[in-house]
């Protein structure tokens, strides 16, 4: 295990963390401000990936495809919000869970109908298909580096919006005391729609970027969604800062665990035992981490105070 390999895995962890953050940021706001459990958030991510892949096939231009997919997915998201989610804001969590679960079934099957159940293949855009040299001896795929940069840019953008704009102030207030914001006469409907739109756009962006490097399959949204839940639980509901910290932590722990746990165990308990125990333990790591955090702080690391 060389130092350079370690750095490469750290970067991979950061890249995965950034993807998690794109999904977690919107979702944690929806949880905190609208008190809405939206299991179908991952479906938007999936739809974004599928539409980007398809559009890339039609146009040959990654940029055009990305723009199309972002717009189209956002439209799908807003349609879902108007048709079903609006009624769910007032309902209890169980209803929200079940209804959005129904949406997941629908979306997973819908993409299977259009594109089939086998994984869609798409390539990294040619401009980014090379590797860049970060340090002497350390080369890293350009595409993944761009993802990290985009993610950090989004984080910065969110920071500016949330902390320096009026909308951001409403968002922070809403996350900390929903009823008060409504009582102050803010048009809650519009605020909710904007917040949801934010989240949908970020999920779409995640999906668009995910296409070339992750497997595009029905159900891909839920796989990452559950990890996003872990991020939000660790970070604290309603908190973007928590989502960022949680996402980076989870991304790192998961990636480094998968890369290094088996070799590490190998030296301790022998290669054949490590062959089974390594991957098993690595897949459980982030959940054990979640359990540990919950044990000491059930409300997460940076909870927005809820009202």
């Amino acid at each position: 295990m060389t130092g350079l390999l370690f750095v490469e895995q750290v970067l991979n962890g950061l890249q995965f963390g950034v993807m998690l953050f794109l999904l977690a940021a919107g979702l944690t706001l929806v949880f905190g401000i609208m008190n809405l459990v939206n299991l179908a958030h991952g479906s938007l991510y999936m739809v974004g990936a599928y539409l980007a892949t398809a559009a890339f096939g039609w146009t040959g231009s990654f940029l055009l495809a990305a723009l199309f997919a972002l717009a189209a997915t956002l439209a799908v998201g807003m349609l879902v919000e108007v048709l079903t989610l609006r009624t769910l804001y007032e309902r209890d969590h169980l209803d929200q869970v079940l209804a959005t679960f129904g949406l997941i079934l629908f979306f997973n099957e819908a993409v299977a109908i259009v594109w089939g159940r086998t994984a869609l293949f798409t390539t990294v855009p040619r401009a980014l298909s090379g590797q860049i040299t970060l340090l002497p001896g350390l080369r890293y795929p350009a595409y993944r580096a761009v993802i990290i940069l985009v993610g950090l840019a989004v984080a910065l953008l969110l920071y500016i919006v949330v902390n320096r704009t009026r909308l951001g102030m409403l968002i922070r207030a809403g996350a900390s005391n929903r009823t008060m914001v409504a009582a102050l006469g803010v048009n809650v409907r519009v605020l909710y729609t904007v917040v949801f739109g934010f989240g949908a756009a970020l999920a779409a962006l995640g999906g668009v970027m995910a296409g070339p490097i992750y497997t595009v399959l029905p159900g891909m949204g839920e796989e990452i969604l559950i990890q996003v839940f872990v991020v939000i639980v660790i970070g604290g509901i309603g908190s973007i800062r928590g989502a960022l910290v949680g996402a980076v932590v989870v991304g790192m722990v998961d990636t480094l665990g998968r890369a290094f746990l088996k070799p590490m165990l190998s030296t301790m308990i022998g290669p054949s035992a490590a062959n089974n125990a390594g991957p098993a333990l690595a897949s459980m790591l982030i959940y054990l981490l979640m359990a540990a955090v919950l044990f000491f702080r059930p409300q997460g690391l940076f909870p927005a105070v809820r009202g």
């Binding site: 949880f31 008190n35 459990v37 079903t84 009624t87 769910l88 969590h93 169980l94 209803d95 869970v97 079940l98 209804a99 679960f101 129904g102 949406l103 997941i104 079934l105 629908f106 979306f107 997973n108 099957e109 819908a110 299977a112 109908i113 839920e222 559950i226 839940f229 872990v230 939000i232 639980v233 509901i237 062959n275 089974n276 991957p279 098993a280 690595a282 897949s283 459980m284 959940y287 054990l288 979640m290 359990a291 919950l294 044990f295 059930p298 409300q299 997460g300």
Partner: protein
């Protein structure tokens, strides 16, 4: 509230279920025997979820984890030569009960959105664990060489015997559940759902009772898992997949939550619906999804509420 109507409905239901094997034989459709046995097994899982969800208000989205644990508790010993049903099924109940106890101990300290996500996450953790253990089939799962053995007493290889064993277990569980709901323990669980701060103010340490209910529900679901793997004669980690949890929850809602027998109706309805829809198109989930959304939005009381004066659960 007309408990007479409900009692009659339950009685009719059981008589109907008891007659299915005969009908299947007469119509020469053994498939229906299989189907209804499968329905009853899921009904057991759904009833166990109703205890904590319908009565306790605990939205646990990871209940299928116990289904899977119960199944593994049968298949793994069988793999290593332990065929005794008593050993396997006891292990299923104990293992899933303990798992539920541990998961509940962490999860029940939270509530609302967090609780849902955490139970889902832990269940998925067990699923990933199942996938990654190569010795026990990993992704593909394991075959069950033979069904659980009960000496000469019960021959589960006989489809009729197996059917009535499942029916008996379902009946006994419903009866026990009915008593439990009315007993002190049930009152605490139900009242805690209604107003937990009040419960603590009058002196109940609600956490321990809710945790006990959570563990109990988990262990009953583990029994369902043991039955399921006997039914299918194989098992895969997909038994524990979170979509399975969603299915079980759907059964509780479709049938009517907080009613004990409602989930049985829900299991019948959902699995029959799946059977019918899948004959029509392989993409039946694209229809089932919106159906579920519509039921949740507009028909919350479930099938149970369609019965005369059955609009409320055991009040």
């Amino acid at each position: 509230m007309d408990s007479r109507a409900r009692a009659i409905a339950v009685g009719v239901g059981f008589v109907a279920l008891a007659l299915v094997p005969a009908l299947a034989a007469i119509l020469n459709q053994p498939f229906y025997l299989d189907l209804f046995r499968r329905i009853m097994i899921f009904a057991i899982a759904a009833v166990s979820l109703d205890l904590i969800l319908g009565y306790g208000g605990m939205v646990s989205f990871g209940h299928a984890a116990y289904l899977g644990l119960g199944a593994y508790a049968v298949a793994i010993p069988a793999f290593y030569g332990v065929q005794s049903g008593v050993v396997q099924w006891t292990l299923a109940v104990v293992l899933s009960g303990v798992a539920a106890l541990l998961i509940g101990a962490v999860s029940l300290r939270t509530s609302g959105v967090s609780f849902i996500m955490i139970t889902l996450a832990f269940a998925q953790m067990l699923y990933y664990l199942g996938i990654s253990i190569n010795a026990w089939g990993a992704d593909d799962g394991m075959r069950l060489a033979q069904r659980s053995q009960f000496g000469g007493v019960l021959d589960l290889a006989n489809p009729y015997v197996f059917y009535y064993v499942v029916l008996a277990i379902l009946a006994v569980l419903l009866w026990l559940g009915h008593r439990l709901i009315q007993a002190r323990f049930g009152m605490v669980i139900r009242a805690s759902r209604s107003n937990e701060p009040r419960m603590r103010a009058i002196g109940f340490s609600t956490f321990r009772y809710r945790l006990a209910a959570f563990a109990l529900a988990g262990s009953v679901c583990g029994l369902a898992g043991a039955l399921l793997t006997n039914q299918t004669e194989y098992l895969t980690p997909s038994f524990m997949h979170w979509t399975r949890s969603g299915e079980i929850m759907m059964m509780v809602i479709l049938g009517g939550m907080g009613t004990l027998f409602g989930p049985v109706l829900g299991a019948i309805a959902l699995l029959l619906l799946e059977d019918i829809l899948s004959a029509w198109t392989v993409h039946w989930q694209v229809v089932l999804g919106p159906i579920l959304v519509l039921v949740v939005l507009y028909a919350r009381g479930g099938l149970w509420s369609l019965l005369p004066d059955g609009a409320r659960g055991d009040g």
